[in-house]
């Protein structure tokens, strides 16, 4: 191999790599601006010409946000809701997706169509009836009132169904011949190979619940049960927004999501969803 042939591939990649770096930097600008702005005093936020870096670094926004809001309670409430809902969402979606993919029955297909149809309705449309149900069940002003209606998502069911469809039926038949029952097939064969889907849905579900706003606002009446997003939005007044507090509080509220990303980075990035399969 001559030196020319060795260097050729790297030169070929310089331009696209540089372009990708430039794009990545572009995406980073708003985030950097947001983070740096949270260290600016209120009087510096709108100065013209715009300045990226604070002239007078301050933690006042963070301090006020931290002292004004009971972050610990809100974090705990939000984390509880997000974790519990996510666990149930993943389990229920996996069960339903498996049934819809692997059991042949026209009613099952009709049921699947009905589930899909629910995605056509905006959440706001079904909200009053869901609220009436929550009231009837005595779940108003409880965290369970946020968790239970959020467990079943058509998206999650759809993701699992589509994944299980790709699993060859022969695999199941082989397991049945070996004497495995349906539960065992589901728990020991199907669930493990669906790990990438579990991870993706878990991350999505956690994020949806972490960012959920209008439903907790309607269901919760007691400030001790408030979630983070309700507290965050209350900084926006009728005519004024306390930007420095809002920025500080927003950064604080982001930290768990960033940690989640760092921990599950591999799963988030993993697109090799057919691992473990040979067809």
């Amino acid at each position: 191999m001559t030196p020319t042939t060795r260097t050729a591939p790297s030169t070929r990649w310089i331009a696209p790599t540089a372009l990708l770096w430039a794009l990545a930097a572009l995406f980073l600008i708003p985030v950097a601006w947001f983070l740096l702005s949270s260290f600016k005093p209120g009087s510096e936020l709108f100065t013209w010409p715009l300045r990226l870096f604070p002239q007078d670094w301050t933690l006042d926004g963070y301090r006020t946000a931290w002292s004004r809001f009971d972050f610990q309670t809100y974090f705990l409430n939000t984390a509880f809701v997000a974790v519990v809902t996510t666990v149930f969402t993943v389990f229920v979606s996996a069960c339903t997706g498996f049934a819809l993919a692997k059991y042949r029955n026209r009613w099952v297909q009709a049921f699947f169509l009905m589930i899909l149809a629910t995605t056509m309705l905006p959440t706001e449309v079904i909200m009053p009836s869901t609220f009436a149900v929550i009231l009837g069940l005595g779940l108003y002003n409880s965290l369970a009132g946020i968790i239970i209606p959020s467990i079943i998502t058509a998206t999650g069911i759809f993701m699992f169904r589509q994944f299980f469809l790709t699993v060859p039926d022969e695999l199941l038949q082989a397991a049945r011949i070996d004497g495995a029952g349906e539960f065992r097939i589901f728990f020991t064969l199907m669930l493990p190979i669906a790990r990438p889907i579990i991870a993706v849905l878990a991350i999505f579900s956690f994020q949806w619940r972490w960012n959920d706003y209008i439903w907790p606002l309607l269901v919760l009446n007691d400030q001790d049960k408030y979630t983070l997003q309700i507290a965050l939005r209350s900084i926006v007044g009728a005519e004024n927004i306390d930007w420095s507090v809002l920025l500080g509080a927003s950064v604080i509220s982001l930290i768990p999501m960033v940690l989640l990303f760092l921990v599950f980075r591999r799963q988030i990035m993993n697109s090799d969803i057919s691992s473990g399969l040979k067809d």
Partner: protein
């Protein structure tokens, strides 16, 4: 397969057991007379902080705990409507308006009104004489100038109503001079709100879109379309940026950049500007009059005591305490409010002269401005009008600024929508 069955059963058992466990977490409502008094409101740092301070003071004096429940402003009505449906209303509310959904769940505040003397026209009684709500504070429309820019351009401006207040033509000419001399982007910006726009209309020979005396119809006088046309023409990306009304760009932030000569907003900005403008000096000035000097003022919010909580008496005691001259002056000072009751002198921590100017503007406004507010409130407490989903005057004006309809059509369409809500 015993192992399989055990595991399967265990998993299924855990899943079913967890649902009632989750269902059991939380879930008790107010109602006990010893429970803290819930006071639902929406306040930015100044206003919410003001009520929180007063709640602490009340607890020190009486031992009664008032819990401030701060809810995002845009969803306060939705939240309280749902709480009413759930039969879980808070003890007290500071609401943007009186809502027919919970109007019959309010306690009569006529006795307190007689004691605290709210400013005439800022509260209303229904046909049985019940006063369901008291004004929490006043807001008024006003104008701010970037003083540094005006001084740099050497352009004069009035600072009190004793001076000959400028006309809109004079103001626009002066602001143009400032803009050109200092190289800034716009002469003026105005909040995207019909409250501000109505004030502009009053100053330009219109009486806005007003309810008739018998509350049966909304009407507009002949000057309204002309005044609107004037406003629409000002949105030309030179005098005023069109982005504020068309795409909801934040005029407060624009003014803070120092690229705007004047900002048409209101008294609630003072506290924010004191805190968050350090790059230039700003000043409150009388708004232009062509021919009428007028501000649009009204109750920023309504204090209501809800029925059925079992805490009505304690809530009434707190409201009475809050409106006592000493306490009311204190919250007005902390929160930067204009007082909504008569005879309360407030010594503000900063910019006393600005608040004085607003009070003078209210006092000098023509009588019809107060009457319009009075009738609006009377309509609200009568509970006969359907709540509007949007703001007809603002929404139709936006269409006109984007060139879709004329000023005449704005008046026509907005009146039609308002009158439909009465039907």
């Amino acid at each position: 397969m015993p192992a399989l069955n055990r595991r399967t059963l265990l998993a299924a058992g855990l899943a079913t057991a967890a649902v009632p466990t989750v269902a059991a977490c939380g879930g008790n409502s107010s109602g006990s007379t010893d429970a803290p008094l819930q006071f639902i409101l929406s306040g930015d740092a100044n206003q919410g902080g003001g009520y929180a301070t007063m709640a602490e003071k009340y607890q020190e004096e009486t031992g009664v705990v008032v819990e401030i429940v701060d809810v995002p402003y845009d969803d306060l009505q939705t939240k309280v409507r749902n709480a009413a449906q759930a039969n879980d209303l808070p003890a007290i509310g500071r609401m943007p308006s009186v809502d027919p959904v919970w109007l019959d769940r309010t306690v009569d505040l006529a006795d307190i009104a007689a004691e605290v003397k709210p400013i005439e026209g800022m509260y209303a009684a229904d046909e049985d004489g019940k006063i369901p709500a008291l004004p929490s504070d006043l807001t008024a429309v006003g104008m701010f100038l970037n003083k540094d820019l005006w001084d740099e351009a050497g352009v004069e401006y009035p600072t009190s109503f004793d001076d000959n207040v400028w006309t809109w033509d004079e103001f626009l000419e002066s602001a143009r001079t400032v803009r050109e001399a200092t190289g800034i982007r716009f002469s003026l910006t105005m909040d995207r709100s019909s409250h501000r726009l109505s004030s502009f209309l009053y100053q330009n020979g219109s009486e806005g879109l007003a309810l008739t005396d018998d509350l049966s119809e909304y009407v507009a006088n002949d000057g309204t379309a002309g005044a609107l046309e004037r406003f629409i023409a000002m949105n030309d990306d030179e005098v005023m940026p069109r982005s504020v009304w068309l795409t909801e760009e934040d005029p407060n932030a624009m003014f803070k950049t120092g690229q705007i000569a004047a900002y048409y907003s209101g008294s609630w900005q003072i506290a924010d500007f004191v805190e968050n403008i350090a790059d230039f000096e700003w000043i409150s000035v009388p708004m232009p009059a062509q021919p009428d000097q007028a501000t649009n003022f009204g109750a920023a919010a309504q204090i209501v005591v809800f029925e059925g909580t079992g805490q009505e008496e304690q809530a009434l005691d707190f409201v009475r305490w809050l409106y006592s001259p000493e306490n009311y002056a204190e919250i007005s000072r902390i929160a930067g409010f204009l007082p909504a009751t008569e005879g309360v002198e407030v010594s503000y921590d900063a910019r006393q002269e600005d608040f004085d100017l607003y009070n003078a503007a209210i006092a000098g406004s023509p009588a019809f401005v107060g009457q319009i507010k009075e009738r609006d409130l009377a309509l609200q407490v009568s509970g006969t009008a359907a709540p509007l989903s949007g703001d007809p005057l603002r929404d139709e004006t936006v269409k006109a600024i984007s060139g879709d309809i004329s000023a005449e059509e704005v008046v026509e369409n907005a009146l039609a929508q308002l009158n439909e809500s009465l039907a």
